[in-house]
Symmetry: C2
Subunit: 651 residues, 2 copies
């Protein structure tokens, strides 16, 4: 692995420390400090402390190590930089500005305003050079792990044109969050030596000193995960930071570098305290701080030598990019098919054969939609080499087996053993999707969608087409009882903006759901699948002239069919509709509408006249008995529908 | 701290290893193994492997250390035992059965059946002796941390009558979950030496060997949190387990004991593999395993010497309980007021003065409901000493400051600095509530309710009156942008069964919300509070004869009032209703109903004719501008309502 990584090390726009005078380093660092403080002051809102403390490590990283071309922020083989401590967004905007990304001073002056390119937290897709949306703590670190994994997997497939690092700056909050454990453990296990994390160790949280709530030995902790660790005792020491990053790049393990900093560095009276965290310094204190630093630039000013230094670094980045373009051209000349595949997957275009693959899934006997989904995946794998993913330790149960998993040092496989880390899995998938070149999926039981919900929300906010395979989708789970029986979960996913929630009823609908999931390139999909066997439905079952319309999804469609049959015996003209995606359900205006779903009725009651569901927790017992216990039998539902129809008719 | 802990150490029903013959130990362990295997076989569903591997540590703990009285499972000063690896429920039921808890053989035979006392995962309130609901991994460990903290805080208040340990058995899944980091870090920081965790280190997860997904050095990791660690290399070695627990009890730090076990121990062909995890052995393999063990008892049998040994241990537990009763009587005689307070708080009865305290909160000027909530808390603290809690590092921002926090070794304060650990906070609160003697609250921003959601669900499932203070409740959060702006969150909480969701509009409603939260003793409450200032409303604003009814909650009520005023100018008879709890909203049948909430419309559209909300992510910018951007101004809403009314009237 170190061999391929060295591609990027040697190709990096590395500036020997002698190239840039130490005074320019210092001025560049102060520029970042005061750009951030000026932004926060102009907005009268934001977090000046983190940028002022972390500016030296950020400058050292960006000026001496980060391989990037500000003119081509989408260059596939660039190093990735993640500001996991997203509240320090002003630091990132300052970096993007001085290095010549498309972020002019006018945008810095509009920090945190409606419609600006400088929102309060970095937002992917909003600002050139922002690799991911951060702010919800711990997720940036974990997305960085996903980016690093995607790089290793891409390297295993396209070694000639892939070799870059992923860097992250994390804060105390990131490290206290549970997801940092999942990220650290996973990255250590997979030996992601291309990942380098700098910890802004400023000893301060919003409520006060870190010591109020945490006494972790973070270096020992990351060492226990199998990471290389470094400590920089003076966060203003550019050479020490540089040396630590250099050693980290040489080490085959992921690296964790603790950099001791002072929050709000240099601002008298607030530096080193939580007062510097989340409030503007105020005009007077900002002026005084600038005086102490001997800072004579106008507000938002960038000194000429800093501009020149950044331009030189950007120039070397452009050279590295041009060099890579040459490597790609050579690769393409020698391997036109592989290069076309690379281009296709990076454009998120589906290959030929997807429809045929899905059509090949047999729909010949009753089976669970999770099993049908595994059949879809098995059919898709040969035609979609970019389709990779795994499970939070439920690959067999959820129908997401994909062969042997990737291991430390061998990233050629497509399966990922995420371990019992649902939240980590989802954030890693986000990172992989953001990296590009892959279509990714991850699975767990639907009830544990709660564990990964904050990352699923970010999938939607970042418009990433991550596919969540969520099985065991109702109380029919049975014997595992209410802790494992989703009730509110389908609805809870439907109400997150931008999430496509699909609940198929049989093999044909499962294949269609996979097609819809793969066709979507601008947002996540949740596939909601059954544990229990379901009959194959008659595809010609729709009845547009019905006066009673029963709408159901997934496992309840065949129940709806049975209920409809009973009502037809009563003489009603009944139709059954099974919208894979409820938002696409067009209610028949003239019909009396009844919904059946083994979950909460909220969300249905605005669409139908009678919503049959379950607004309480489930029960332990065999699945069929549990369904019966909660009224999900043909007789019980039929009785409720008949009673409703009679009362509606005034009978 | 060690001094008070020693109360329970000396008072424990400790059986010297010479008291119980080694053969009886072995038979008792095999009894637990085969009771579990028999249960799983009878149900044809469940997890035999964990109980068969972990039976020795469970037996050693329960027979030699756990201070409990099976006849009094609610004894306040009992040791707590948490089976965090809840899928091993059959082990817990076996323990409860042989030690004489109210769990007869007939219930073991009904394992995993509807209505049995032996559901698939342990469920609090369902089975005597089950301390908490487990199954969602990692949460049992974290609830154990909460129980241990509650014990220390109770000890600081009632040292004469409080001194017990909390024990937990955790599996690999618990330790991979992120929440285990939050739990471990928090417990280490607070020096919870009364907490002893045994790790069932069987090296197997559902999908295969632990090495597929994890290479953590768990002992080093917990040492990095400040824990005492022990390793038992043979999980069948009762004396080694005993010695490790004994050393753990003597150590002032929380203890983590790695016990190397073999999943499905002794079952030929499946032991040591994931096949033993989640499926019955099958009748033939079970019979063969019993033969290999020389096990001649009938199914569900308990040998006579094991029964006798358990009865003797239970007898010593009853003696310990009687001794404690004596200590309590002496305490009560000397401190009748304190004893009455103890009884009152353990009965979850509110003290006198709560209503008066809440009435004292001034409602004299516009302010945020988070600020009003802090005023309520400040008024409540003097009259409710049992009211304790804290924040996931947002005590100041969320209005939940409660003075200095508890620290390692000094647990007399009422504030808890949970750190940036939302999920851990909620599970710890569950553990504290389950322990008894306290009313607990925890706070974060509403958008981060997603991080703690799995534990909030368990609060509801276990009917624990945990109070969640969730602030910054809409896009009015403003500059922090969409990552920090809740949109779907209020509705996502409303749909969890059993959660009381209250969104007050001003000081009076905030005080009423606190009254409702405290009055509830059988389930959690979420208080949804604003970041921004809100006007004080006219309490006599209701208009029961309205033909247009505007229903709004929280921050949108004053907007609703302004809209109503505009409509009155048009000649409509308008009323505004602000249901604190939407489930208590009784729509006026005759009126045209309009809802206004700055969140998703799902859930409202079944209740009203026009639901005004936001079904997309928010935007970064100053709060007022963001509200305007998304249509939450008097003019914009008025225009939508007028248009709806006109079209409804056919104009």
């Amino acid at each position: 692995m170190t061999e391929t990584i060295s591609t990027s090390t040697t190709g990096a726009p590395r500036a020997a420390s002698t190239d840039l005078a130490a005074e320019t380093d210092q001025r560049a660092i102060d520029t970042l400090r005061f750009l951030a403080a000026d932004m926060v002051q102009a907005a009268n809102s934001g977090h000046p402390g983190m940028p002022m403390g972390a500016a030296p490590m950020a400058w050292t990283l960006w000026s001496r190590h980060l391989r990037h071309d500000p003119a081509s922020p989408d260059w596939a083989d660039r190093d990735r930089f993640v500001l996991s401590a997203g509240h320090g967004s002003a630091l990132l905007y300052g970096l993007l500005h001085i290095f010549g990304y498309d972020l002019p001073e006018a945008e810095l002056r509009r920090f945190r305003q409606v419609g600006s390119q400088t929102p309060g937290h970095p937002e992917f897709g909003h600002t050139a050079g922002v690799e991911c949306t951060t702010g919800p703590l711990g997720q940036g670190l974990t997305m960085a792990v996903g980016m690093a994994l995607a790089e290793r997997m891409a390297n295993a497939r396209f070694p000639d044109i892939t070799g870059h690092h992923t860097y992250a700056i994390v804060g105390d909050g990131c490290l206290m969050e549970g997801i940092s454990h999942e990220a650290g453990s996973f990255a250590g296990h997979l030996g992601l030596g291309n990942l380098i994390v700098l910890w802004d160790d400023n000893d301060i949280t919003i409520d006060g000193g870190v010591g109020r709530s945490c006494g972790d030995d973070q270096l020992a902790r990351f060492a226990a995960y199998g990471w290389h660790t470094e400590a920089v005792i003076d966060g203003n020491d550019v050479e020490a930071i540089d040396a630590a990053i250099t050693r980290a790049k040489a080490d085959p393990r992921p690296s964790f570098i603790a950099v001791r900093t002072v929050i709000g560095f240099g601002a008298p009276g607030v530096e080193g305290t939580s007062k510097a965290h989340g409030s503007p310094l105020g005009p007077e204190l900002l002026t005084r701080t600038k005086e102490i630093f001997g800072w004579t630039e106008p507000d938002f000013g960038v000194p000429a030598d800093v501009r020149a230094a950044c331009a030189a670094i950007a120039g070397r980045g452009a050279e590295a990019r041009a060099e890579w373009d040459g490597a790609f051209a050579a690769f393409e000349a020698a391997n036109p098919d592989a290069a076309a595949e690379w281009r296709r997957t990076h454009a998120r275009e589906l290959p030929r054969g997807v429809a045929e693959a899905l059509a090949s899934v047999p729909a010949d006997k009753p089976r669970a939609t999770r099993v049908a989904s595994q059949a879809c995946l098995n059919a898709l794998f040969p035609v979609m080499p970019e389709l990779v993913g795994g499970s939070a330790d439920l690959a067999g149960s959820t129908g997401t087996a994909a062969g042997d998993p990737v291991t430390a040092g061998d990233y050629a496989n497509r399966a990922i053993a995420f371990g019992i880390r649902e939240f980590g899995m989802a954030a890693i998938l986000n990172g992989m999707s953001l990296h590009g070149g892959f279509r990714v999926f991850g699975s767990t039981f639907l009830v544990f969608a709660d564990y990964l919900r904050p990352a699923l929300r970010l999938s939607a906010l970042m418009k990433q087409p991550v596919i969540y395979v969520l099985t065991h989708d109702s109380i029919a789970v049975g014997e595992d009882g209410p802790t494992h029986q989703p009730v509110e979960h389908v609805e809870s996913l439907r109400i997150i903006p931008g999430v496509q929630v699909l609940r198929p009823a049989d093999d044909a609908e499962t294949a269609e759901a996979w097609r819809m999931a793969l066709s979507r390139t601008d947002g996540p999909t949740a596939l909601i699948l059954s544990r229990q066997n379901l009959p194959q439905l008659d595809p010609a079952r729709h009845n547009p002239s019905a006066t009673v319309e029963i709408v159901a999804t997934g496992s309840e469609v065949h129940l709806a069919e049975a209920v409809a049959e009973g009502l037809r015996g009563d003489g009603y003209n009944v139709g059954v509709v099974s919208p894979l995606d409820r938002t696409r359900y067009a209610p028949s205006a003239g019909a009396t509408r009844v919904s059946i779903e083994a979950g909460v009725t909220a969300g249905w009651d605005g669409i139908v006249d009678l919503a049959i569901g379950l607004d309480d927790f489930g029960t332990c017992g065999p699945g069929g008995e549990v369904l019966a216990h909660h009224g999900f039998t043909t007789d019980a539902v039929l009785s409720r529908v008949r009673s409703h129809l009679r009362s509606a008719e005034g009978r």
